[in-house]
């Protein structure tokens, strides 16, 4: 998968996601045939959210053996022995991986059983050690909870220990970073969850270990407030000379906090807050094993695909039952809409983020493959009865106790359009939001916005070049609408080369009206099989279903390998801010429990969801009226 841009025309200076009225290529004639040519980007596949035995919860849930090293080896395609003793290997290796173990007592559990003398000086740690030796792992986990839920602000670990683990952890990432072939990012998860409401964010460094380790990981014990995390990142860039971003996830279990228009003190967001947040959070992880946060039927009752991987019974801690008032602060589409309103009022949009998916697997094994799914935690590695278990070990989960492992999604993937597979190139692409999320499959999605895309462009043999020349890619901005013009979008989607055909491509539009209210509308812009798109922009006929649950198989007899279209917004008002993103649906395919039933030879109860439609979500393209 190495794509080094050694062909001259690909070697262009950073014509990045230029905000644009985007009208016309540069006109002045130049001797250089490459001037004005867009950089050629390729899609790279990875996971920015993975835990190993270095995370307290992963370890307590049974991952005692798999280290970051195992995780990197597995992700780049090697065969690994899983916790349950089976050999495991990915169908296709990843292009990049960030091991993001919890910052709170990083590496502690992996070392505590060896009774590192540095650790045994602490009474609490001696007790944890002895509890673990008696098999009381989940109780240790419960004692950890106050440290991330804001109750306890005490640093348990001696600094010498934290330093040595952090060094080792970062250097391991460096060792496996192989520019052009396999990129690793140094990073960790900041695990703040006040009262069980999830505010988790993954910190991602562009830098190598010597820079990244200039500061110890910033943890929820340092502060449970995101504002303090951003201060830390600011200090890291300005004083320590590095580069970093943070990526929130599981907004769906945040108790409505993740995208509310308030800061962590409950005060209205200010312009300064909005600017700061948008700076550090260019991306949101919109889909993962613990549910999908793109949309929810409560918020989007007219979207028949809104219900997918809904984890909506409680907050992450399982301490509070879900309330309908939370939804608006929990789902990405709604947040993008809120962002338009705030942006219009404050002059800065705090929720101007692009989208990625990742697994958040705690097994050390990044598996987003339906037929090769190793579960959320090591005690849910493949077995004949895992689908019947509750998704958290008994005694650990509050309101989760009745939720089945069955609800776990085999999601997701982060797709990044970048010229090279290097830390630098991928990081810059993430900063400019040239990314999309998928729930597992690797469909290739191109989405450009501009003012003059024509039907002809959609049949052009080189849509990427046309797209970049006449517009901006996903994550970009449109402004200064030419008179009488509406935004047009060049869309080209190809199925996963080894996967299922496509059902349809949809543009999801959100906008702010003159009264300050926000709205959304879905347009089916390209559908397979010659189905009709009605005057309201929707195709009401379902694509069909070829899934044979008994054999966990499907065929590509329905759907299309490829969808392409140039689409112009029929309802555009140049005075109103808007965003547009693309959602792509695959034809129905079997879910992981169907593969379990075949491999372990049991009958899947009829009420088990065995079929799903995987999907992709691109980063939006925003339209902002000129003042």
């Amino acid at each position: 998968m190495s794509i080094r841009a050694s062909i001259p025309f690909a070697l262009l200076l950073g014509l990045s996601a230029a905000a644009a009225g985007a009208d016309g290529p540069p006109s002045a004639a130049s001797y250089s045939p490459y001037a004005g040519e867009p950089v050629r980007t390729h899609v790279h596949w990875g996971d920015l959210h993975l835990h190993t035995s270095y995370s307290i919860d992963a370890n307590s849930f049974g991952n005692r053996l798999l280290t970051p090293e195992d995780a990197y080896r597995f992700a780049r395609g090697e065969t690994i022995q899983a916790q349950n003793g089976m050999q495991v290997r990915l169908g296709r290796p990843l292009d990049f991986l960030m091991v993001s173990d919890h910052a709170e007592f990083l590496g502690l559990m992996a070392k505590i059983d060896r009774e590192d003398p540095l650790l045994m000086q602490s009474e609490i740690l001696r007790r944890w050690r002895s509890m673990r030796s008696q098999g009381r792992y989940i109780e240790v986990l419960r004692e950890w909870a106050p440290y991330i839920q804001g109750g306890v602000r005490e640093q348990l670990l001696p600094e010498a220990f934290s330093h040595s683990v952090w060094q080792e952890y970062a250097q391991t990432a460096d060792r496996f970073n192989d520019p052009g072939r396999f990129t690793t990012f140094i990073g960790y998860e900041w695990t703040s969850m006040p009262d069980g409401d999830n505010l988790h964010r993954n910190v991602l460094f562009r830098d190598a270990a010597p820079t990244a380790t200039r500061a110890l990981p910033f943890s929820a014990v340092d502060s449970p407030r995101p504002e303090d995390l951003w201060k830390f990142l600011d200090d890291y860039e300005t004083r320590l000379g590095g580069h970093a971003i943070d990526i929130p996830h599981n907004s769906n279990m945040s108790g409505g906090l993740m995208f509310r228009p308030l800061d962590s003190h409950g005060k209205a967001i200010t312009r300064e807050y909005a600017r700061t947040r948008a700076r550090w959070e260019p991306l949101v992880e919109a889909t993962q094993i613990k549910g999908d946060s793109e949309s929810h039927p409560f918020l989007s009752p007219n979207d028949e695909f809104a219900s997918y991987g809904d984890w909506d019974w409680s907050n992450l801690g399982g301490s509070k039952k879900h309330e309908s008032g939370w939804f608006a602060g929990e789902y990405v589409r709604e947040a993008l809409k809120t962002g338009l309103a705030l942006g219009s009022r404050l002059g800065e949009n705090p929720f101007k983020f692009g989208l990625v998916g990742s697994t958040d697997s705690h097994t050390g094994l990044s598996t987003a493959e339906e037929d090769n799914f190793w579960g959320k935690t090591s005690d849910r590695e493949p077995s004949a009865d895992r689908y019947l278990k509750t998704w958290m070990s008994a005694g650990s989960g509050g309101l989760h106790e009745h939720q089945l492992t069955l609800r776990e999604l085999t999601a997701g993937m982060a797709a990044v359009w970048a010229p090279d597979n290097t830390r630098e190139a991928l990081f810059e692409a993430m900063k400019r939001r040239e990314t999309y999320a998928t729930t597992g499959p690797r469909m290739v999605v191109r989405f450009f916005g501009g003012w003059r895309f024509s039907a002809q462009d959609a049949v052009n043999p080189d849509p990427a070049r046309i797209g970049n020349r006449k517009g901006v890619p996903m994550g970009g901005d449109l402004t200064q609408a030419p008179a009488g013009k509406a935004p047009s979008f060049l869309i080209h989607v190809a199925r996963d080369p080894q996967g299922a055909n496509l059902d349809r491509a949809q543009v999801v539009k959100g906008w702010l009206d003159a009264d300050g209210a926000v709205h959304e509308q879905i347009y089916d812009v390209a559908v397979s099989g010659g189905r009709a798109i009605d005057a309201d922009g929707r195709a009401r006929t379902a694509v069909g279903n070829t899934v044979d649950v008994k054999n966990a198989s499907y065929t590509n007899d329905i759907g299309a390998p490829e969808l392409a279209v140039a689409w112009t917004d029929p309802d555009f008002d140049p005075a109103r801010p808007a965003f547009y993103y693309l959602r792509v649906l695959e034809i129905p395919t079997p879910r992981w429990p169907a593969y379990d039933a075949v491999r372990f030879g049991f009958e899947l109860p009829a009420e088990v969801d065995a079929v799903e439609q995987d999907r992709a979500y691109t980063s939006p393209i925003w339209y902002t009226p000129a003042n």
Binding site: A5, P461, D462
Partner: protein, 315 residues
Amino acid sequence: MLAPSDPNPRAAADAPPAAGRRWWHEPLLHFAVIGALLFAVHAVLAPAPPDDGRTIVVDRERLLTFLQFRLRRFADDDVGRQFDALSQSQLDALVQEYVRDEVLYREARLLGLDRDDDVIRQRLIQKVRFINRGVAAEAAVPGEDDIARHYQAHPDRYTEPAALTFAHIFFRAGDTGMPAALDRARALQQRMGNAPAAFDEGPGLGERFLYQVNYVDSGEPLLAGHFGADMARALFALPVDGRRWQGPLQSQYGAHLVMLVRHSPARLIPLAKARARVEDDLRRERAQDNERRLIDEVVAGYRVERRLAKPGASE
């Protein structure tokens, strides 16, 4: 129960916390640990408790631990205070409970009940594997010669796979069918004649392909995914020629004219460049070998009686 729960007091005394050399780095200690492991594994597998098994010692520490698990509270001070505040009759009742639990536990082990319980079995196995792995990894540091030997022994692992750099002009089979697509491709070839389009202009003369217009240093897995295994094989068989659109080749999607500008054959990465990776791999392999050997040694201490209808391979 296992050896490392009793850290070497000498090492703890003379090694300052920040120093790199910790107690488990001591080579002599490895033997002690391995020995203790043998004992530990033996102790786990053998049913008889130590000493005569008929004495139960009750002291404050044991009762405190017992009480903690009873109360599910582990803040020592709290439980300590509660313990000290127990009345005589409460204390007697606690001792009685403790003794009863301990007796039942010992009897259960005497009866071998722990052996039939897979949960207990797996937990103990995991604990031993974890400790083994630590010991095994510490003893696995390779030298320069070892690294060079390992590199020479596994050229397949340190080989850059073959890769192609090419552009293609695509003609869709689609509704018109493959023969028509091939015809369009050949027609273009003829039209270009002796003045073929340049590498980056050619794709623009064809039709839209699903994936990329060109491929830079791309390997077989990617190409097989995008074009199918047959066409990938055909691509690797083409001669390099930067002045010609070869073909047409066929994929499941249509016909392709190909300008192949580079074919990098598979090549061994020089040791100097691969060294870090080789060392990593060797270290890991040795750690795994050590772990296996440790277990084999313990297993060798047992006599296995096969009582099966089928004889073993070596019998």
